[in-house]
């Protein structure tokens, strides 16, 4: 149970191809959300819009460290994790616009959808509830002696829920292959972390369940990747539940309609200067792992993919009213 806050050297198991793919997912996450903002302003997003600006790094890095067959459960700010696990931009767009072609046929919103074959389980809104559920999935891996791992995200705010507590304790005591990613992004809606808990380090909460618990700079993509990989493999090899606190910052409001009155300009500026994508780009550029050309090619690919996806999604119809019925029971 040590703690690590220094950026790691680029993990040895990443190829240049991997590094470019990570860039792809980082940029895709941000661009897709920016596109969603446009659609939101045009009134095409039906409900609220939730951004992960500034947190794309940890989402992508933690999920990229998983292997095929592993399952994660994202929260509202883990669009990046879902994309890494194979969710398609067009699915996300359809969800936000409540199209009949969306993965939930218009029944659920935004990124509340799942594909267990690809490896992600959609969340419900009630914070904390996914922790016990993911413990159950990890329990299955253990019972079947499959070398698979579960990963569940939880915010600084969600850690205050009873469900979080019961779920992590359950996983810990059963020694389940589950990695709990704590996203310390400074706020839960308007509530700063120090009003959510009195403890200085959220990783201390993991220690109270008797599980290995680490803290990492959440905006250092490669450091997050390295540590996540280590914990995932520890969980995989029978060392039980692991916790990883990623220290990051929510640069937009809780949702698009939030005026962020409680976040100071200085704080926002500080974290803008600590952008995970900018840092990653410098890092892989400086190290000579990617050329500006490489990145530009990826950027254009993303632009193309998103604009195609928007076209497809927009032209899809809303579901027929009657399709609301059915599917409550098998």
């Amino acid at each position: 149970m040590e703690s690590a806050l220094t950026p790691a050297a680029p993990p040895a198991d990443l190829t240049q191809e991997n590094l470019l793919e990570i860039y792809y997912f980082l940029r895709l996450t941000r661009s897709l959300e920016e596109q969603l903002v446009n659609l939101y302003r045009q009134g095409k997003v039906i409900g609220g819009l939730y951004r992960s600006l500034g947190q794309e790094g940890e989402s992508v890095a933690t999920s990229y460290a998983l292997r095929p067959g592993d399952i994660l459960s994202p929260l509202i700010r883990n669009l990046g994790s879902m994309l890494v696990k194979g969710a398609q931009p067009v699915e996300v767009l359809r969800q936000y616009m409540a199209k009949t072609s969306s993965p939930t046929a218009g029944r659920e919103m935004n990124i509340h959808f799942n594909d267990l074959d690809k490896g992600f389980l959609g969340q419900i809104s009630h914070l904390g509830d996914m922790v016990p559920v993911m413990a159950g999935i990890a329990l299955t891996f253990k019972m079947r002696v499959e070398r698979r791992v579960g990963m569940v995200y939880v915010g600084d705010g969600a850690m205050s829920t009873g469900a979080f507590h019961e779920g992590v304790n359950f996983a810990a005591v059963q020694k389940l292959p589950l990695v709990v990613v704590v996203e310390n992004n400074g706020y839960a809606f308007s509530t700063p972390v120090h009003k959510q808990t009195r403890v200085a380090s959220l990783a201390d909460k993991g220690r109270s369940y008797g599980i290995a618990s680490y803290t990492v700079d959440g905006n250092d993509v490669l450091a997050v990747y390295g540590l996540a990989r280590q914990l995932i493999e520890a969980a995989r090899s029978g060392e039980g539940t692991q916790m990883l606190e990623v220290v990051t910052y929510r640069r937009k409001g809780h949702a698009e309609h939030d005026d962020q009155r409680y976040q100071s300009e200085e704080e926002l500026a500080l974290w803008e200067g600590n952008d995970p994508i900018d840092r990653y780009v410098s890092r892989i550029g400086d190290a000579g792992w990617a050329t500006p050309d490489d990145l530009e090619r990826i950027d254009s690919r993303i632009e193309r993919e998103i604009s195609e996806a928007v076209g497809t999604a927009e032209s899809d119809p809303l579901p027929e009213g009657e399709s609301a019925i059915g599917g409550v029971f098998a």
Partner: protein, 326 residues
């Protein structure tokens, strides 16, 4: 007189009670500096201070439990659920601890638990619930559900003064859609347990509450103009206690009853009302008691789906016609 919204009326009611009684305080998520997810408590922190407007961790069971403990000591806590959907996380605390406290232990627990409820706002399955029936079943809790701005104010003030725990379901669809002239110079206190005749009529009684009152009034208007029918709309205003006298009185007058609620059909409160009418006015019934409710599904997100699942004025008109023709 000033024109105020349902939300503003609620806000005024809370404000006045905080001003009136120093034992009144509020606790909930993001209610302080942020003023609440719907801005119901905007400006409260500045006026009443952090000692009485308490931002809490995301812990609905603790919010309700702490409110109960404080209430035992003579305080009058008002707990906000950011959305009423999250009250489910405090279900044990409310039904086992709070509801039974007086009966099993003689403990007074005058708390108010309030929050934005209901659908028609494209909130999806977890921001659209109207979970009145979940608490209706447990003896010891009062349930209040204002439909008008006047009652939003009058009922929150009565709820705060009530010596029993009250769950106050405010309807988020009405927050800014309902506007009403309210007097500036007169205190508004709506008694808990008294229904309101929202429209008088003699051919059919529609029993309803909360946002559905407005849909039923639209339906009654349509039935009057198109069918020449005289429809009474009874706004229950509180579900526990339920105004049996008003219900039975109206049924005995019109001999036909339609119950309309936003909640799902099976296990919804229409069932209880139907029982009470069977027990208390069976001989006056010229037709079966019928109900218009949501379908038995979660509330879906897409507008087309939500509109299909939730009852609308047209559903009310249709059911009323069946009864009128019976």
């Amino acid at each position: 007189m000033a024109e105020v919204t349902y939300l503003e009326a609620l806000r005024q009611g809370l404000w006045e009670e905080l001003e009136r009684d120093e034992n009144v305080f509020m606790l909930g998520e993001d209610i302080g500096e942020y003023g609440g997810a719907f801005k119901v408590t905007e400006g409260f922190l500045e006026k009443f201070g952090a000692g009485r407007i308490i931002d809490t961790p995301i812990s609905e069971a603790a919010i309700v439990g702490a409110a109960a403990g404080a209430a035992h000591m003579g305080m009058r806590p008002i707990a906000e659920m950011q959305f009423i959907d999250f009250i489910s996380c405090a279900y044990d605390m409310l039904t086992n601890y709070v509801a039974t406290a007086r009966y099993r232990a003689g403990l007074a627990t005058p708390i108010v638990v309030r929050g934005p409820s209901g659908g028609y706002v494209r909130g999806g399955p977890f921001h659209s619930q109207m979970p009145e029936a979940a608490f209706f079943h447990t003896p010891g809790l009062k349930l209040v559900c204002p439909a008008t701005a006047r009652d939003a104010k009058g009922l929150i003030k009565s709820a705060v003064r009530d010596d029993d725990p009250v769950i106050y379901f405010e309807h988020k669809f009405l927050y800014r859609r309902i506007k009403e002239d309210l007097p500036d110079d007169e205190e508004i206190l709506t008694p808990i347990g008294k229904a309101r005749v929202a429209r008088e009529g003699s051919d059919l009684t529609i029993i309803t509450w909360s946002a559905m009152v407005w849909k039923c009034l639209d339906a009654a208007e349509e039935l009057a103009s198109s069918d020449g029918a005289s429809v009474e709309v009874l706004d229950l205003r509180s579900l526990i206690p339920m105004d049996d006298a008003a219900i039975l009185g109206s049924v005995r007058k019109t001999n036909r009853v339609l119950i309309v609620h936003e909640d799902t059909r099976t296990g919804g409160i229409a069932g209880e009302i139907t029982s009470r009418i069977n027990e208390g006015a069976f001989e006056w019934l010229d037709a079966p008691v019928r109900r218009v409710t949501a379908h038995d599904t979660p509330i879906p997100y897409a507008p087309t789906l939500e509109d299909y699942v939730l009852p609308g004025a047209d559903d009310v008109v249709e059911a009323a016609r069946l009864l009128l023709a019976y």
